[in-house]
């Protein structure tokens, strides 16, 4: 504990330097703006500024990018509550009760509870990140290729199990993403796979063009040409204070959202999106008055908003401790760290303590900055949405193109974004989720590498995944999840068979 406090002191001495403080502030402001704008997720915001961070030192760069990430989570709630427009995918659940509260004249308290819940969740989850990441990193030193393979496979199964769409569809999308991840040079043999003479595809499909296309561009394609956005209801500062009853009703949802969000965040997947869905479902189930949900229940705002912020910190655990990206945003942040010659993984915390602890401390500072920014300045941020959508979406499109181009300076990436945008548009029309594709794409090279390395280690024996206890345990959990999902289907089928037999017998 003393060592942790000492390290935290070191972190604050880094985070409170004017330079780092400035980048944390700038990151939070940009993140909030990105969160407010529909169609521009934190990923597009991060990729826009990624090239600009190349000239900064590693700590400032990571602090700036992390600021955008959690700033977007705060910003996304504002438009969800006041306009029923999820500025960010994780805020979809906040729309339901947040907007209902606004229509009931309680938009101000909804904003305040969302901000306080986000602040509490953000701060508590950073404490958990601080306490969990170092021991996990030490534990992860025991991980070899079989353990990494099992972990990545487990992540994909958890994502499929928890996603809103059917597990079959999610697994199909994960397989599609993994297939996209096969494009490029085979790392073990040097063969070019599916690159069709395009040198730019040698490194594979980039995470940024794929994710901006599947999330950002597809959103623009779906919303452009739709009827105009609803009017903005701007609450006054004195209307922001929640009542005593609202505070009391929010207390437990914030606590539960924080814990659930953090735990879900640790597992690879689009954690911040899933966590808000899970939190909403849990709050509704635990509520004594579930009928209030959908008509302005404060628990429906407090839970999901806390969960998505907490998941943001949770997502940093595998990134910092294991070097495994838990989604597209941590993947881009890992790329940013690598540009600065830092290799994330179990040794990061011991080899680069000032970066790790500076980053942790900057998250504490960032949460305070966001609380100050979001409540009093809500009116300023919301003004962005007064720009008519017929002008807003072309500008957002330009920022998407610019952000994707800027990462590698390649128009092929813009082409990939376009293709992925079209794919995402069609898939969303057919009720598929696009998050598993992006995760599959990110994890594919690691998954394949660890699989083939494991087989090399065992001279081709698949028993290596079962004989090593950590790998076996993770595979068992994955298998259990799969069975949990399949069981009801099988039972239903048996039911169907029985009915058929019954009909036959009657005849």
């Amino acid at each position: 504990m003393t060592e942790t406090l000492h390290n935290l002191y070191l972190g604050f001495s880094v985070a409170l330097t004017p330079n780092v403080l400035l980048y944390a502030f700038v990151g939070c402001v940009i993140g909030t703006l990105v969160g407010v704008l529909p169609g521009v997720g934190p990923l597009a915001g991060i990729s826009l500024l990624l090239p600009a961070t190349f000239g900064l030192d590693a700590t400032s760069a990571i602090v700036l990018l992390a600021g955008i990430y959690y700033g977007a989570m705060y910003g996304g709630s504002t438009t969800s509550i006041l306009m029923r427009i999820p500025g960010e995918a994780a805020s979809v659940m906040t729309c339901i009760d947040g907007y209902a509260m606004t229509r009931n004249g309680r938009g101000g308290p909804a904003l305040a509870i969302a901000a306080v819940g986000s602040y509490v969740a953000g701060t508590v989850s950073v404490v958990a990140l601080m306490l969990l990441a170092p021991p996990l990193a030490s534990f992860a030193l025991r991980f070899g290729p079989p353990e990494y393979f099992s972990l990545l496979l487990l992540g994909l199964l958890v994502l499929a199990y928890m996603s809103g769409a059917s597990m079959l569809k999610s697994l199909a999308m994960a397989a599609l993403g993994l297939l996209f991840g096969m494009i490029g040079i085979d790392p073990m043999t040097g063969f070019f796979r599916f690159s069709y003479g395009l040198v730019e595809l040698g490194d594979g499909i980039g995470v940024v063009p794929a994710a901006v296309g599947l999330f950002g561009l597809s959103e623009i394609l779906l919303t452009a040409g739709q009827p105009t956005v609803p009017a903005v209801i701007k609450p006054r500062l004195r209307e922001l204070l929640p009542s005593r009853e609202e505070w009391r009703d929010s207390l437990w949802p914030i606590g539960r959202g924080t814990v659930m969000g953090f735990l879900i965040g640790i597992i690879p997947g689009s954690a911040h999106i899933i966590s808000s869905f899970v939190s909403y479902a849990v709050e509704r189930r635990l509520s004594k008055h579930p009928e209030r949900f959908g008509h302005g229940a404060i628990e429906g705002v407090a839970g999901p908003e806390s969960a998505n912020n907490s998941a943001t910190s949770g997502a940093f655990v595998p990134m910092l401790a294991l070097g495994v990206p838990s989604g597209p945003i941590p993947a881009v942040m890992i790329a940013a760290m690598m540009v600065h010659g830092i290799s994330p993984g179990p040794l990061l915390i011991t080899q680069q303590p000032e970066l790790f602890w500076g980053f942790i401390a900057s998250m504490y500072v960032g949460n305070v900055v966001l609380l100050i920014l979001n409540l009093p300045l809500v009116g300023i941020f919301i003004n962005v949405l007064r720009i008519p959508y017929r002008l807003l979406y072309p500008a957002i499109l330009i920022f998407c193109i610019l952000g994707v181009y800027a990462v590698n300076g390649s128009v092929v990436d813009v082409g990939i974004m376009t293709a992925m945008g079209a794919l995402g548009y069609v898939l969303r029309k057919f009720d598929f989720e696009t998050a598993p594709i992006v995760l599959g794409l990110i994890l594919a090279p690691m998954l394949e590498m660890s699989f083939r390395q494991s087989l090399s280690m065992s001279s081709g024996s698949y028993g290596i995944f079962i004989t090593r206890p950590i790998a076996a345990a993770m595979l068992m959990v994955g298998l259990a999840l799969l069975l949990l999902h399949i069981c009801p289907l099988v039972i239903k089928k048996m039911d169907w068979r029985q009915k058929l037999g019954f009909a036959d017998a009657k005849e």
Partner: protein, 183 residues
């Protein structure tokens, strides 16, 4: 059709007379109407199957390796087979999915226009330069698609094109293409 396949697998031969009597002789109403048979999941499942077959076909040029020593085509083929399985499962269990005709494509003109300007950006960015490309893209979207006035269109396009170039290229030093005329 799905019901027939499933039932013929699961039932004993003796039961099949019932099957033919009940399922083939009196097919469900959806079987009469090809449009109702075409559900969203059936279409998407079939597309996934076709895509996975394409991947398997394209993998033929790469060495497959062995079961114990996988080659570069091993994992892609394994994944394509998985996708094939998911696609078939989706198509087979798709009876309750909404019919294809229920999908609304009201925004297709805008979607097509946006995709077209993205392709234009791919082709034009390095030939015409960032500012000219963005100017053309914005004028097309704001004037032609959104039917705004010329003054608003030109001022907005100039503001975004020049403003974003100044912010990212000049201040943040993000390298952006300038085109042959220096724009």
């Amino acid at each position: 059709m799905t019901r027939i396949v499933f039932a013929s697998i699961l039932l004993k031969p003796a039961n099949k007379s019932w099957l033919f009597h009940n399922l083939l002789a009196t097919p469900p109403p959806c079987c009469y109407n090809p449009a109702a048979m075409l559900t969203t999941d059936r279409v998407s499942g079939t597309t996934l199957v076709l895509f996975s077959l394409l991947v398997i076909w394209e993998s033929r040029r790469l060495p497959l390796g062995t079961f114990h020593q996988p080659g570069p085509a091993y994992i892609p083929i394994l994944l394509a087979l998985l996708l094939l399985f998911f696609g078939v499962s989706l198509a087979v269990t798709a009876r309750r999915a909404p019919p294809l005709s229920s999908l609304s494509w009201t925004e297709w003109r805008h979607a097509l226009a946006i995709l077209a300007v993205c392709i234009f950006a791919v082709l034009g960015m390095e030939r015409l330069g960032y500012r000219v490309t963005v100017l053309v893209v914005l004028i097309f979207l704001v004037k032609i698609m959104e039917k705004c006035g010329w003054v608003l269109t030109v001022s907005f396009a100039l503001l975004v094109a020049l403003g974003s170039f100044y912010l990212f290229h000049t201040i943040l030093r993000v390298p952006l293409p300038q085109g042959p005329l220096g724009f």
